[in-house]
């Protein structure tokens, strides 16, 4: 099936999200769509999938113009979509999830589970997607859940499969497996639209690459193009993909964590006997696949959750019992994993968010009264220093782009003297230009002698920043390595192979 997009335009009021997009997806092609957050990739895909009505332009399938009023129409036309956040019901089995919405029944409304299971088995052998139709979705790993989503689309006879940032939640090994599946699908004639902002993946799997910037297709590239070229097309200027840094001037340990255990409200041990130390002037990276205890670990460092056992000290002072306010006062800078949830107050202005944890300081208040002038001067200064793109300091932070929202959080945390900086996913959902900037600031903070702890699920980020890397798996630190370790080895450690030595053995 050949899918053509001709002059597709979507306007919201006077804002043009997609401007005259022309794309052709050939049968059996893996077409990569590369673009920064907010470039208009999602708008385009939502029009393809019948979720949004195009303002102008048309879609053609095998030369015939089509119109999708709803996702149902798009599915009937052979378009399948795997969303970034899976649309699965955890307490249902794989087969039940696949038949959801088009249940087969045996008279009288009894579900025909056997037929559904058979369909799943057939599809999984045809396309080499190993899944057990009778497994509960909540009990299978994320990578397998993604396969279930793909099977769901294939069960609807999808000829064009849209994969929206499919690798964001996967381990390096799972990414390799996904690429294998994509190649297999391609061999069988399914076209794939692969949306991502990771240059490495695009080069590894793409047949053609279209780059979207500010709602326009700015160019089509060959997978042989260099990463730097692709990044330049994406951002519109040349970007540095590596972080310039000198060798660290490592000082004394500042933050010491010993045998910390955290039990979550369900009674599950999510952090198990974790010990590490963060040293002045050094970046410690904590690598790991999402959900292996990193979130709870750093929350316990700030005092948002109380560790159930173990010791946490800063400069030898016990901070285990501290709440967030005391920990912040102790000199911890904290960039939370989910900025919109924990990092800023969306309804507050930029000015207010920039002092969200500083308003009590003498500088910004006297007794009960806020010093508005000081707040404004601070905002003007930070906006300039951190290049926060906002209409004014009175704009609500929720109206800013993701990168600028993150800059607000980063600017605030960097505006007081720090002993330890804890940054979780500091550049998640941030555009390439802002990533560059935030990374530079983090290294500058390290060079001031701050102990930096970076938690990230992006290996690129871990490698770019870290002077030492601790790998977390299943609530434990399974090993601490130096950044010269091979990607495959660290990937194996993230997947649970203990220690760098064993990881090396496993690859041998």
């Amino acid at each position: 099936m050949k899918l053509e997009i001709r002059g597709l335009t979507k306007r919201f009021g006077s804002f043009t999200a997609n401007d005259q997009i022309d794309l052709t997806i050939e049968p059996g092609e893996i077409h990569c769509l590369l673009g920064e957050n907010g470039a208009g990739k999602s708008t385009l895909m939502n029009m393809l999938y019948g979720l949004l009505d195009p303002t102008e332009g048309e879609l053609l399938i095998d030369g015939e113009p089509v119109k999708f009023a709803s996702p149902g129409d798009a599915i009937a036309a052979g378009i399948g979509m795997v969303h970034q956040h899976f649309m699965l019901i955890p307490v249902f089995t794989v087969a039940e999830n696949v038949m959801l919405g088009r249940e087969q029944t045996r008279g009288l409304g009894f579900l025909n589970r056997a037929a559904a299971a058979k369909l799943v088995r057939e599809l999984s052998t045809t396309y080499r997607l190993a899944v057990d139709p009778d497994a509960l979705v909540e009990e299978i790993p994320v990578g397998v859940q993604q396969r279930v989503e793909i099977i769901k689309a294939l069960a609807n006879h999808a000829k064009v499969l849209i994969l929206d940032e499919p690798t964001a939640v996967l381990t390096p090994q799972e990414i390799d497996e996904l690429m294998g599946i994509m190649r297999e699908l391609k061999k069988q004639g399914t076209s794939i639209i692969f949306i991502t902002h990771k240059l490495r993946e695009v080069k590894a799997i793409g047949d053609r690459i279209s780059v979207i910037r500010r709602g326009k297709v700015v160019g089509t590239a060959d997978p042989s193009a260099s990463e730097a070229e692709l990044a330049e097309m994406m951002v519109g200027r040349s970007v540095k993909l590596t972080v310039d840094k000198t060798a660290p001037q490592v000082g004394a340990p500042v933050l010491e964590v010993k045998d910390v255990t955290v039990v979550d409200p369900r009674g599950v041990q999510v952090v198990k006997d974790v010990s590490f130390e963060a040293r002045a002037g050094e970046v410690l990276g904590i690598a790991g696949v999402q959900g292996n205890g990193q979130t709870e670990l750093i929350k316990s460092l700030l005092g948002l959750v109380k560790p159930d056992a173990g010791e946490i000290t800063i400069d030898g002072k016990d901070i285990r019992k501290h709440g967030p306010r005391e920990s912040l006062a102790e000199g911890i800078g904290y960039i939370p994993e989910d900025r919109s949830h924990d990092g800023y107050v969306g309804a507050f202005s930029v000015r207010e968010n920039l002092v969200l944890d500083l308003y009590r300081n003498e500088e910004f208040s006297r007794g009960l009264a806020l010093k508005l002038d000081a707040l404004e001067q601070n905002a003007a200064q930070r906006i300039e220093e951190f290049d926060i793109r906002t209409e004014s300091m009175e704009s609500a932070v929720s109206s800013l782009s993701g990168g600028n929202q993150q800059k607000v959080v980063v600017a605030r945390e960097f505006s007081r003297p720090l002993k330890v900086l804890i940054a979780s996913q500091p550049t998640r959902g941030v555009d390439v230009g802002s990533i560059e900037f935030i990374h530079k600031r983090i290294i500058a903070e390290r060079d001031k002698g701050t102990a930096v702890v970076i938690v990230s699920t992006e290996l690129d980020e871990i490698f770019a920043l870290s002077d030492r890397i601790a790998v977390m798996y299943d609530g434990r630190i399974v090993g601490t390595v130096t950044p010269d370790i091979a990607r495959e080895d660290i990937g194996l450690m993230m997947a649970g192979a203990h220690g760098p030595a064993e990881a090396a053995e496993a690859t041998a």
Partner: protein
Amino acid sequence: MSTEPKTQVTPEPEQEQPAPIEKAQPVRRPMAAADWLPTVKTTLAAIVLALLIGAVLIAFSSRDVIESLPYFFSYPWDFFSRAADAIGTSYWALVTGSVGSAHAVGTTLVRSAPLICAGLGVTLAFRAGLFNIGAQGQLILGALAAGYVGFTWDLPPGLHLLVALAAGILGGALWGGIAGVLKARTGAHEVITTIMLNYLAAAVLIYALGKNAFQRPGSDNTQSPPVFDSATFPTIGNLHLGVVVAFLAAGLVWWILNRSTLGFELRAVGANPDASRTAGMNVPAVYTTAMVVAGGLAGLAATMGILGHHDSLSPTMAGSIGFDAITVALLGRATPLGTVLAGLLFGALSVGGVAMQASAASTPKELTEVLQALIVLFVAAPALIQGMLRMKSTDENKTVMAKGWGG
């Protein structure tokens, strides 16, 4: 607050002239008209629509109009002229009765004062993300405390008033604080606890009025003696000083919300408790403080009647002020200025309603309650108004409102 993306282009500074290198001093600009205008427009539209519907109701509640109906098709003019007459008379009475003379304005102000105070309490709690349904209970406790001090203690004038006033505020603050502590300590939803505390307060009132300490001497009714003159607000004409106190309270609430660290915390916690906690704020303490202050404001509302009006404590003394306060706060979009304006409007409607009933059209004064309800209904559904009047849609629901059951 328009949804239209910003299209204005900032004019480039003229390059020719040597730009003065002075650092632009941050200027505190007043809120741009674009920010509040849509809200004002929808609110006014809601009031106008409510008055239109009210006009229909007035017409059909007039006996003259009803009498003209049977021969409507043979002589429709009768119907229209009589309807116009009834509507005109009623609304004219409504206006003159509420703001038509100095006396009427005074009455309106006195009637509005408790609505404003209690409404401020609801507003303040709203901004902290709390849906305070308990103004009624807080008000009753405030009245009990203020009344007891007012008719039992013997203190010099002036001092007596201050002590009674403080007692009223404390009584309300205590009752509000209970809901606050329950929320902070156990996570009990404030909607449930404040509703239950309302029932409890009503029961406490009945119980107290049955005791000798609160009984009017020589009376078997559940009614207390009025407070001593030494504990009442000084009066000027038909106005009393409590009205001034109410407006001062509004100013204070504005200052707390917009200029103080406490208000910063209240608003932050109301908009995003998780980020507030991560930023080191003590969320449970903020919830408790918000409810204590909100209760204090409801207690202040109670003193308007007890200390301003010589009202005595009785089972019906609180009327429905505590519930009207919720409506006032909603109509005022949870801002202090809005609450004051909404309180004045409701006070005027209630005073004018009496005049309307006394007018030639003798429109039932319940109509004003219908008007109040319609206004709030339209304000609560801005999309409805915008649809009816084909106004451009606005983002005005940005005002931080309490989260329903999620919190």
